[in-house]
């Protein structure tokens, strides 16, 4: 798995946005991850605790907002949420299925603290 490189990328993005916005500290990070994107939350958290030392993000909480995989049948228009294995359309049996959501993989927002200007 590639959680270390993923975590390094998350850190770089958060540090960049924290600095641009004059943060003294980042307290929370909101990640949006689709059900079909392969990433292990615990593993990211493990690397995070190590690589965020000595950065604005040290101690920040990672929040994983999972987006369920929603599919739509091209044949009959039926929309359904994926549970377990990919299947044919449960309504009409067609293979012509569009994936509407579930492939997201981005940093949605960060919560920062700022020192008040004196």
């Amino acid at each position: 798995m590639h959680e270390l490189s993923v975590t390094e990328n998350i850190l770089a993005i958060c540090e960049k946005h924290a600095k641009e916005n004059g943060a003294s500290k980042v307290t929370d990070i909101y990640l949006t991850i689709g059900q079909l994107s392969s990433i292990v939350d615990d593993s990211v958290q493990f690397y995070w605790d190590i690589i965020s030392q000595d950065t604005l993000c040290v101690g920040a909480r990672l929040h994983f907002q999972r987006v369920p995989a929603k599919l739509k049948c091209n044949q009959c228009g039926h929309e359904f949420t994926l549970k377990g294995e990919l299947t044919l359309c449960p309504q009409c049996g067609s293979v012509r299925i569009d994936i509407l959501s579930g492939e997201e993989f981005f940093v949605e927002s960060i919560l920062i603290e700022k020192e008040e200007a004196v």
Partner: protein, 225 residues
Amino acid sequence: MSKERVPVVEQILSANDQIAMLNRQRLNAAGVFSINLMASPGAGKTSFILRTIEGLKNSLRLGVVEGDTAPVTIDSDQILAAGMPAVQINTGGDCHLDAVMFKEGLDQLPLNDLDLVIVENVGNLVCPASFKLGTHLNVLVASIPEGDDKPYKYPAMYRGVDVLVINKMDLLPYIPFKMGYFLQGVQILNPGITSFPVSCITGEGISDWCHWLIAQRNQFIGHED
């Protein structure tokens, strides 16, 4: 002290994607077409590359970038023995090639003397799917002994490729591989994808693949994007 929520909405792998774009621009400038071969370990990527070299060596000048997790040159040695320039990239244990590693590979190839660069990614059906390299086509080499359930188990890989090679077709009579079930999963994830059933042992399907690849390359030369 004040608290503030800062909207970011930045793709986690955007840094990689940007370098991949630079790799693509560099290849385009040199007029070199490139393909990224991905597969599980043992699917026959190297054998397939050797067959492709054999089929194309009179038509195109090829170079190969080999990715492996350990510092071995087993694969690149075979390519060099076939008379083609090859570069071995050791990922240092990483499970995939990324755009920076591919850039390092390109640095070592004589791009101006090549028509086609083939990348052999690290054998893995999970991670390489997430890391764009900047190649023009992503190719998945599936193989019969892996089993017919792989599209269902590795949807991101099957969804993200442009062409599918089904290798080791010569083993189909000996293995309980339900082609209908396999292709159904492929169709759900990647409707209408071009596929080539091949065997690197018998040579079945290789010339169809080579003709198709030459056509893709000619189309690229006529219209670079």
